[in-house]
Each structure stands twice: as structure tokens, then as C-alpha cells.
């Protein structure tokens, strides 16, 4: 996958960190200190459909260009997460118990076009 730069237009992963202190949640979430809420953004022209990030092989790109040229589909594909991992949380519930859990698929590691 590709991480977004300042002027990225194509499908990439944009990093976004939610600091629990900043949103006033540090009193009930013990760990971690924040949430890496990365997300996918950017354009997915038709010839990039099915490419897991921009670093796909030359052959895949050529095949997709042929597909695009055939105009089999008229709608652009979507820039979506292709790899995700869980967010581990240690927090106090409302009875002051301590709960540890892994919420699956909460952190986006890479993005690609559908």
C-alpha cells in the first residue's frame, strides 16, 4: 500500500491519530494513549481496479488497462482498506472493572482499489 503525501490524489492510506487525552477519554481508557484511525482516500481510475496499492506488477496494470479499454464497467472502483489489524484496548467499564479486548479490523494498514 501507499501512504498519502501532502498532494496525493491517487488511492492511498491517510494517517489520522485520535489522542484520547485530547477528546477527554484518558480517564476511562487505560491503554493505549490514542487510536491510529487511518483511512483510505484518493482516486481509483478504472485501470487501477483490483490493484492492492499502487505497487502492483506491471502485468496487472496492463491487464487492467485492457479491461478499462473494453469499457465493460462504467463506474470507478473504490479506494478501500486491504489490510487491517485489531485495536487492543484496556479500559474501565462503568462498574470500575478493568476490561481488555481486541477490537478486530480497527486499524487500517494499507489501502487499494477494489
Amino acid at each position: 500500500g501507499v501512504d498519502c503525501g501532502a498532494d496525493s490524489r491517487m488511492c492511498c492510506r491517510r494517517e489520522f491519530f485520535v489522542d484520547f487525552k485530547e477528546i477527554g477519554w484518558e480517564d476511562w481508557i487505560i491503554q493505549p494513549e490514542g487510536y491510529h484511525m487511518n483511512y483510505c482516500a484518493g482516486l481509483c481510475p478504472l485501470h487501477m481496479a483490483g490493484i492492492p496499492g499502487l505497487a502492483a506488477s506491471f502485468h496487472t496494470a496492463v491487464l487492467n488497462r485492457i479491461k478499462a479499454a473494453s469499457a465493460a464497467a462504467a463506474v470507478d472502483s473504490c479506494c478501500v482498506p486491504t489490510q487491517r489489524r485489531p485495536l487492543s484496548l484496556l479500559y474501565y467499564d462503568r462498574d470500575s472493572n478493568i476490561v481488555k479486548t481486541d477490537i478486530p479490523d480497527m486499524i487500517v494498514d494499507s489501502c487499494g482499489c477494489t
Binding site: V80, S88, V99, P104
Partner: protein, 222 residues
């Protein structure tokens, strides 16, 4: 699922930077609360003492290294939970002590208990073995009267930790509207208080439970 020309991810990009940030923060909060099945952020709790917490975490880690499975890691995609519940002191007499453990309905209603262990630390028991009876009490199905879920007799020889498997009791508790477990300790009259003083000691009683998200019934096809 793209509708028309727009992908869901494109919506965020069309907002102004400040609005975009607010939208993402709101989304993050909503997403975390929804995944934890919480209606809102819990109000500021009364956390247990740091010493009690550290001791409990150390003992949890020791128990985990003994077990074959690694809790907390989702197998078969089901979310797993580890719960650490510290006792609240209840009424006591010269020969009995009551401890209460409360579990949140959010977790209790959506998970099933895999394992639960009660940790009790005996303060100086005096000379010789002391007989202790540990009773697990639950609210009865018909009303507030407590019923005995299990009873265990122990001989306490020296100060130290005792662990009791209370999985069955906590499991049945999690199906109830008010998931509250009471532990009654019956001790010899001349022992005094068998437990350390509340919140001032690193040996305060606690329960460690492992739970897993409930699954809807699966339909198998051939």
C-alpha cells in the same frame, strides 16, 4: 458499496479540513463505543489502588503463562475479553465477610464466560490450619433473596493467595439482568478479619474472567 459515482471514502475528502477533523473524531468515538457495545463513554470511575492493580495484573500474567491458549487474541474471528473485577466490601460479622463483584450489563449481555477465577489473599491466619468456607451467592430467580451457587471448604495454613475456579457461577450470572456475585467468607470467630483493609493493600480480592462474544446460531448447509 459504491452508489453512483461516489465511494464511501470520498465523502470525507469533500469536507473542509476543520470539518473533516471533527467528522473523523466523531466517527472514531462512535466506532469505539459501538464495538465495545457501550451506549456512551463510562462516567469517571473510582479506580482500584495502583498497588492492587499491579498485583492483579502480575497474577493474571502468571496464570496466562501457565495456560495453553493465549487469551485476548481472537480465534475464529470472535472478539475476546479479559475482565478484572475488584471486590467491594459488604457487610461483615465476627465470623463472616461479604464481598461483592459487579459486572457491567454491556459485557455480560453480549459475551459468554470461558473461564473465571477468584483470587483471595489470606492475612495472618494465626497458629495452625484455619477452616474457611467460601460461598458464592447469587440473586435468586424469584426475587432479591440470595441463593447459594456453590460452597467450598478450605484449610488455610499460612498467609498467601488462594485461587478458586468460579467459572460456572459467573457463567450463570451473566445470563441474569443484574450480574452481581456475592462471595461470603465464613471464618473462625477468633480470626478477626481474614482480608486486608480495603483499597489500602496490594492484596485486595479480585476476579479474573475470560469471555468471548456470543455468536448467533449458525446454519450449516450441505
Amino acid at each position: 458499496a459504491a452508489t453512483g459515482e461516489w465511494c464511501p471514502a470520498c465523502g470525507v475528502a469533500t469536507l473542509a479540513p476543520a470539518a473533516q477533523r471533527d467528522a473523523l473524531l466523531a466517527l472514531a468515538k462512535q466506532s469505539i463505543l459501538a464495538k465495545l457495545r457501550l451506549p456512551g463513554r463510562p462516567s469517571v470511575p473510582q479506580p482500584p489502588s495502583r498497588a492492587a492493580l499491579l498485583t492483579a495484573l502480575r497474577r493474571m500474567r502468571a496464570q496466562r503463562s501457565d495456560a495453553a491458549a493465549t487469551p485476548g487474541m481472537p480465534r475464529d474471528g470472535l472478539q475476546e475479553y479479559e475482565l478484572l473485577s475488584f471486590a467491594e466490601a459488604g457487610s461483615s460479622t465476627s465470623h463472616s465477610v461479604h464481598l461483592h463483584f459487579r459486572f457491567s450489563q454491556e459485557v455480560a449481555g453480549s459475551t459468554e464466560i470461558q473461564q473465571a477465577t477468584l483470587y483471595l489473599f489470606w492475612a495472618a491466619p494465626g497458629r495452625g490450619a484455619q477452616p474457611v468456607t467460601v460461598r458464592l451467592l447469587q440473586p435468586g430467580p424469584a426475587g432479591p433473596n440470595m441463593t447459594v451457587a456453590s460452597e467450598t471448604r478450605l484449610e488455610v495454613q499460612r498467609p498467601g493467595w488462594t485461587t478458586l475456579d468460579i467459572g460456572a457461577a459467573v457463567r450463570s450470572l451473566f445470563g441474569q439482568a443484574t450480574p452481581r456475585l456475592t462471595v461470603e467468607l465464613e471464618v473462625p470467630e477468633d480470626w478477626g478479619s481474614p482480608l486486608p483493609s480495603e483499597h489500602s493493600d496490594s492484596h485486595w480480592p479480585f476476579v479474573v474472567a475470560q469471555a468471548r462474544a456470543r455468536t448467533a446460531h449458525r446454519v450449516h448447509r450441505r
